[in-house]
Subunit: 340 residues, 4 copies
């Protein structure tokens, strides 16, 4: 067995708890800290199997035994905690997006510290670790479909989020489309240079009050001359709809939705099949497991992480372009270059 | 049995011959004329079962017995023959597109004569009569998926056409994308108001010589606020790839490719399934049959045709917008209104 | 174009009419005779395009111009007309089964005359010409799945036939299971040596009155040591259910049902897909076309037919074994050898 | 949270370890004992998280704190340990089969003690808890497909087991077909009354040395008049092939193989899809989890177990009938009645 990585988990809401359960199953992880602003005696009882259950994340960062932290706090706190963690020489797994408001120049400063301290920083673009999408990614890289020419992703959530939650996690481009933007760039192996996006409130017009949309359709161009199409919806009544297709000079690869059953019913009315899985937690169960697994492996074996700070910046630039394109009604250029 | 409609077929190239074979199987059609510029003694022998085999289409139009004509000549002659046929009081089935170069104002004048003479004019948007797409169309109209919000079509040809042929039938937007533009408008039941299209020569750079592209990805908006995404390629190595998806407030309908087999092979290497049908002739066999069938029915029973002159104009406007958007690099507004 | 084969069609009920329509589409067929006991003036009008419309099949056989006949009369007349046709030196396509009651020794005498006169005799085992099953057959022959070990067929009709009709066409083993028996033997390339069949009236107990069953499940053994499983039902409420699976040392080939659509509906209730095609006429449309086509080709090019008289005898032996096994409650040996 | 059940695990080979890992994830289980004949200091280190790691199962049974045991030892020891556990008043989960050699009369005596002591005894027919098969089972019970008439199962292992292992776990009917026999009885809700089975060594003729076969095809009859078909193979080169189909008066339910991917590749050669999962451990991962979960729940909430001792006896009777039928070449009656 490999050595155990001493880890602290900062932020234990719904998603944090998901990571907590996954961490428990990993033989090379020694979970030392649970840290959350809501920690009280009840928590200490529930997480009795974890040595330290604390409220203040600085306690985690101050412990010299801790090698890596998972940051699963609310989005607006990501940048600050990442900065502190980098200064404290901890390897970092951070949920996406890196930030909703921090200017790119400040993000770059943080990344410089990460780099200077020889730390791993992995962003939670979990879809990169979904077995289906990963399989496509790897086969595209191997040239199985030749030179990629068109990439398409569909992402549709099963229901509209609460407006208060949206304010915290970000509007559709920043919370949701950003996953597709990262995915198409990842699949094509080329940076985005232009986006034209249409957005509207076809489901819930009151989203306009918080400057948000519920439906997005966009076309984008990559540095290598290829094209991408993305469509998003906040509400697919039939379940969580997540598909990817890459078309190239030698063929096509596509991933259909994952269903929870292969059972088929035939009656005098119609054939019936089960719907896609209902929500991201079940759909991306393996992806969430794999992303932490790969982060731990990258730290222990000193290998590149699957999605780093530059990926975060690139996705954020694209999300900003989507937002602007919808609002200004014109194509927005995206800078494909990056230098620390 | 219903009465037989006396019909003349004008233009008998590859597609004309396809219609010829379909006409033979229809009990309510009395095919009286084969007309083509290439007609010679050989033709008269081959079509011995047809009473008249002639070179000049005026002979067909001058015969007072003929009630309807099918115009399957080269695209640049469509407008002229339609005009002559309308003046001669014949019902008209015309292959799409109506025209590559005729200004819309002239087309409108022709449509006025068609209307004034109480004639049917059906345009050859065959996909409207494909059983799969028709099924989706009808269920969308019935409200099965609620209010439609996103429509997506994929059309990919199996190989790049010869440049000389492209010059005759039109570049990608006018010969190929026009089908998708008609289809998305048909599915949504709403006119297109804006298109932003990206195009490139990712397959054959020499297409630039004739001002054409081989790959198109576009986003468009409908008058009712909904959105559309289209992607086209001149060369899908795996076959003719034609898919449609309509997403709405109450569900989603999609049509996958039609394969020529349900046979599955499982070996120690992988499971294998047959590819899509190889080319439009086999893929849309039923659609071609159905469109003529529905045209004949519309004439005999005096009912509306499935795709009329206004549909042709709307599709053409959209194709022009695609062409302009690619060339000018900006979104192009499309006029959704029409009055004769 | 190849020369045209002068053909007479004897028996024009539902299935005969199906063949009639297919014959019309074949350029190498010159249909000279329509022959049916019910022929009257109405028929002569309906089949005005056929030179001779007659009541007595001897008229067809007496015409020296006629090279081949299709026998699509009621089952009990097959053997007699085949014998007369063979004596009149006509190539013969005969619907299965060859006979319900004629002893095998008499059948053998007829086959001897067919052979002595160098005639083709093709039996209407249409499923052999179904594109899916044919594809499996050919790939099994090529060794794609290695040595075949298990073959399985499912055949389920959409509704129970009328008892009077059953009396004419034969009980379940002789009218229906016989297709599966021919198919499994064809797929395995080995003769059946033993059958154990269970049958019952799970759907319509009144079938016992005519000594019939509505449900059959059987296991059989082939001369080469491999095994087969067949299940039949007279009533699948969801449509005509026809599947074949061949399992071998190097893999498996299976053909699923053919559906009339690739359209999928997703709603908040369930995903829905279209059912199998509803009835044998639509399901085996291509098979019926192909079998006549292949018969005509076999005659014109003097090649072996796809299913001959020996195949008919072998299928009949197996059907008798099924019938006996159900009635006697024990495995029945089947003689795999045959000599004219 | 519900109370925790104190559990001992007896037998920790490959399958025992599988259960061990599943037990760790269950919040209502307090695993107190690991017991295996091979236990040494190395084991004590590996299972340091378990309070007691012992060699002799009597130590587990003697601990009054222990409420339930899981028996995952070699098959020949099952009956003895179950008897001892029942006498020690422990609830029992026992891997199938109950026994290879113990006469049914002795088994009945053990079941009487289990009953007299008000204990749960659950047999490891894991497929009953597979989500797909369970879904079919429940829908059949609800009458979704009306009255069931035909049930079919296919079970094919990916490779031939080692002969020494076969000697320990039982020949094909007792180790493998027994699962299908239990499944068809479970699905139909009716006891088996007759079996006719064909078996052969089509893959590995040397299996004859240990009186075993590698291929089985059988037909069986149920007490309610319906029929079943089962086919088994020791070697499907494409993976672990497990399918179930139930056909009834109102429709059909079937479960296809579970694949590990929805990714599809289209190239100029063919479409390719991923194969079934490779082996029972991955295919039935959820089933194994669910069966222990349901056992724990049955004990804590005092509800019936999903598969009990009578089920074990019924499956064993059927497996014996399969074995006899193959060897004697005739249908074997199975007694559908049972009384303690």
């Amino acid at each position: 067995m490999t050595r155990k990585l001493k880890v602290g988990l900062i932020g234990v809401g719904r998603q944090g708890h998901n990571h907590y359960e996954n961490l428990l199953t990993m033989p090379d992880v020694d979970l030392q800290y649970i840290c959350d602003l809501k920690v009280d005696d009840e928590w200490k009882k529930e997480y009795a199997n974890v040595p330290h259950v604390v409220k203040d994340y600085h306690e985690v960062l101050d412990d010299p035994e801790i090698e890596a932290v998972l940051i699963v706090t609310s989005t607006d706190t990501h940048a600050g905690i990442v900065l502190d963690a980098a200064k404290a020489h901890k390897h970092i797994f951070c949920e996406k997006p890196f930030s909703l408001t921090t200017p790119e120049s400040e993000v770059r400063e943080i990344l410089k510290i990460v780099d200077a301290n020889h730390l791993k920083l992995q962003m939670g673009f979990n879809r990169r670790m979904d077995p289906q999408f990963r399989d496509i990614y790897e086969r595209v890289r191997k040239g199985v479909i030749g030179s990629p020419q068109i990439v398409k992703t569909t992402s549709r959530d099963p229901f509209v989020l609460d407006k208060e939650l949206i304010k915290r996690v970000g509007t559709l481009p920043f919370d949701f489309t950003i996953h597709d933007l990262d995915m198409v760039r990842y699949m094509m192996g080329s940076n985005i240079t232009e986006i034209y996006a249409k957005g509207g409130t076809l489901i819930d017009p009151t989203l306009k009050e918080i400057d948000d949309v519920d439906t997005i359709a966009l076309v984008l161009e990559f540095e290598n001359g290829s094209f991408g199409l993305i469509d998003n919806s906040r509400q697919a009544v039939y379940g969580y709809d997540e598909r990817v297709e890459v078309f190239g000079s030698e063929g096509m690869l596509k991933a259909e939705n994952v269903s929870n059953s292969t059972v088929e019913l035939y009656t005098d009315k119609q054939e019936e099949k089960k719907n896609p899985l209902p929500i991201f937690m079940s759909r991306y169960h393996e992806a969430y497991l794999n992303e932490i697994h790969s982060f731990v492996g990258a730290v222990i074996e000193d290998k590149p992480v699957v999605a780093n700070g530059v990926d975060a910046i690139m996705a954020q630039r694209a999300a900003i372009a989507v937002d602007q394109s919808i609002k200004l009604g014109k194509p927005i250029k995206v800078d494909p270059t990056f230098e620390l």
